[in-house]
């Protein structure tokens, strides 16, 4: 089984990197994160300058005029990590939407399902390849967090969070445009349900708050890995894989 999954994964990987879309997505992501990281860095330097300015009461190491909460973690890393998560949501569907939809559009899905590969092997291989792509994307843009990544668990929660709904959505339709819309919609709607809080009762708002991605994300950029948050993202990723599998099985049944 592992051999079949690996063979399919290799084929998917070759296909992905033979098309320019992977590079365009990588370029967009790295450029966006680079510019925003630089902006946070400049703002931090300006903030330090203001705090250490002689005109504001005299600065200097021994006077402790820079409060301890003004540091690279709070002023550069955490806001940059928040931005990076959103950027992944923006650029990734361009790649993930084609994973299943392209097979349907080109009619190779039937070939795939009758090739002796079981549906869960297909879903597993395609998920693995797209996760690997995100790993490569993060690695390409990881120069700046590399300084702090040993202190803060940046990144892997993105890998999981960003796949919410994207693969299963693209497996439900043969239209790449619809797949893209679904790929964008589900994670963005799941991102935060605060917009609904005025329209629903308090218990419902609380339950929605538990589901929303945003509330589960905050501890990772701060350098804390909480078991319950890891389980949350793992559950979402598992559900995504399960939905892809179900879609493939239903397609086979029809």
């Amino acid at each position: 089984m592992i051999g079949r999954v690996l063979a399919l994964a290799r084929k998917e990987l070759r296909q992905l990197f033979a098309s320019p879309i992977a590079y365009v997505v990588g370029t967009a992501y790295v450029a966006l994160t680079g510019i925003y990281f630089f902006q946070h860095l400049v703002s931090y330097n300006q903030l330090l300058f203001v705090y250490q300015s002689e005109g504001l009461g005299g600065g200097g190491f021994d006077q402790g005029t820079v409060p301890s909460h003004i540091n690279v973690l709070n002023e550069v890393f955490v806001p940059a990590a928040d931005d990076f998560g959103l950027f992944l949501l923006v650029v990734l569907p361009l790649v993930t939407m084609r994973v299943f939809a392209e097979e349907r559009a080109s009619g190779t899905d039937e070939l795939l399902l009758t090739s002796g590969l079981r549906p869960f092997e297909v879903a597993l291989a395609k998920h693995a390849v797209t996760y690997l792509f995100v790993v490569l994307l993060l690695a390409a843009s990881a120069i700046y967090p590399a300084v702090v990544v040993s202190r803060a668990a940046l990144g892997f929660e993105h890998l999981i969070a960003l796949y919410v709904g994207q693969l299963p959505c693209s497996s439900f339709t043969s239209s790449q445009i619809v797949a893209a819309v679904l790929g964008y919609s589900i994670p963005f709607v799941l991102l935060d349900f605060a917009w609904l809080s005025n329209a629903v009762s308090e218990p419902v708002a609380r339950a929605l708050g538990e589901i929303a991605l945003l509330g589960h994300y905050g501890s990772f950029p701060r350098g804390v890995i909480e078991l319950r948050e890891v389980l949350y993202f793992a559950s979402i990723a598992f559900l995504g894989w399960l939905a892809s599998l179900t879609a493939l099985e239903l397609g086979r049944a029809r």
Partner: protein, 520 residues
Amino acid sequence: MSLLPAAGLVMILVGVASHYATRSLQGFSAFPAANVALGIALVLVGAAARARAFRGFSGAASRRVALRALAIFAAGAIAAIGLGVASRSWTARLDLTVDRLYTLSDQTRSLCAELDRSGAVAIELVFFEDALLAKDARLLVAAYGAACPRVSIRDASRSEPPAGARALYTTTATTVIACRGGVCDPVGYPSERNITAALLRLSSERSPRVFFLIGHGEVDLASESDGGYSGLAALLRDQGFDVRALVGPAAAEGPAGADVLIAAAPERDLLPEEIALLDRWLESGGRMLVLAEPGLRSNLYSDLLLRWGFDLEDGVIVDAAASPLLENPSPLNLLVHLFAPYHPVSRTLSRRTMVLMPTTRPVALARKPQPDDRLERIAFATERARVDHDLTRALAGRSPARSDAAIGEPAVAAAGSYPRGGTGAAGEASAAEARIVVIGDRDFASNRLIGALYNRDLLLNAARWLASDESRIALTDKAWTPNQDPLTLQQTVAYFYFLAFALPEALLLLGIYAWWRQRA
């Protein structure tokens, strides 16, 4: 028909986005609401159309496959949701921050255990989710909830906070308020130090009394100038001490009511009867913190302290190893980083937690008053330090390099404990032991320097030890100091060129190559 749900999802997205863009202006208005409602309707219509167009499965085997797939999905979904719900109460976490910012220190854990043992009324930490610093504080507050059985967390956005907390909530800068039995106490900046200090204040049945000796040229307790001690007084009050001024120990109230007496560098002699009274008070188990300074000649040092085993020779410590990190790297400005590792006053301090002391008087040990007494040097300058007895020459920065013999790690602070037969003010057995801490500098506790490095910790540790409150020795202030160092302009620009231009450029060129190969 599949475009209908797509259009619906776009409308939902626009509705949500427009709500976020305008919520500060008008709340949930008609435009976002209409978009969301219409979007949901389109999605439902599209789904219904797809369902109607469904022609069914081709046979019993297909139906079985479909049912099995759906059953597996339902079971998986239920398992995932169940796991998510169950894990809400799991608190296991891995704190990977450099200083373990979100892991409670031993002191806080010890306080929590003490609260649990005493069966005291539970303390509630009211957490304001909308506060400006809520993101910073959430993990820390959760750590208290997990580690302290007698401390509960109340999220003010989910359940109504107690009236006392509501009254203290002033601005969005209020993040955490601690309450116990209807009495509430604002925490201030939501750090572990401040939250634990609030727990201390609320849990203390009786505040230790700290008297400051005045009337002999001591540092002014109320002065807010750089050299004043208003910051020290505020710090002690914040830590639950009852701080008062004592106009000479011979005054009517005397030092008898004090748990700790602080003599902050008296510049003049005390009256002989005052010295005698202090001596008797110490014999009965009194506790005293003396801050000295080079050049001061009071009989408190030469008579009283000498009798209790401390020899404050007149001179100033000159240490060539003074850190170049200081703005003024004078050899008189000591970065003290050598501490006695097992003494309660100094055990939380180390090479990483330095104390800044400008112009420090050496504190040497003399003969012990009684054989059972214990005298210990607790903080030292480096082995390159020496004592210059010509204060004028030293202050002028003209100390010759080898004018006095190096004496090797001269002490800047020492502590003594003296088991005596009497009973202390509070009547506890432990209070029968007299205790004295002598520190050779007064400026390190001034308003200018009390917040510098770990000066505060040395002072609070001394006050807590003197008040027989070792279990609440000051928390080490956790701050990610290395990351306050700014990047240079050159480094920042280098980052920018590489990240925003060179790396994307390389990826784009690879993309063009892939496109060219695909065409070819």
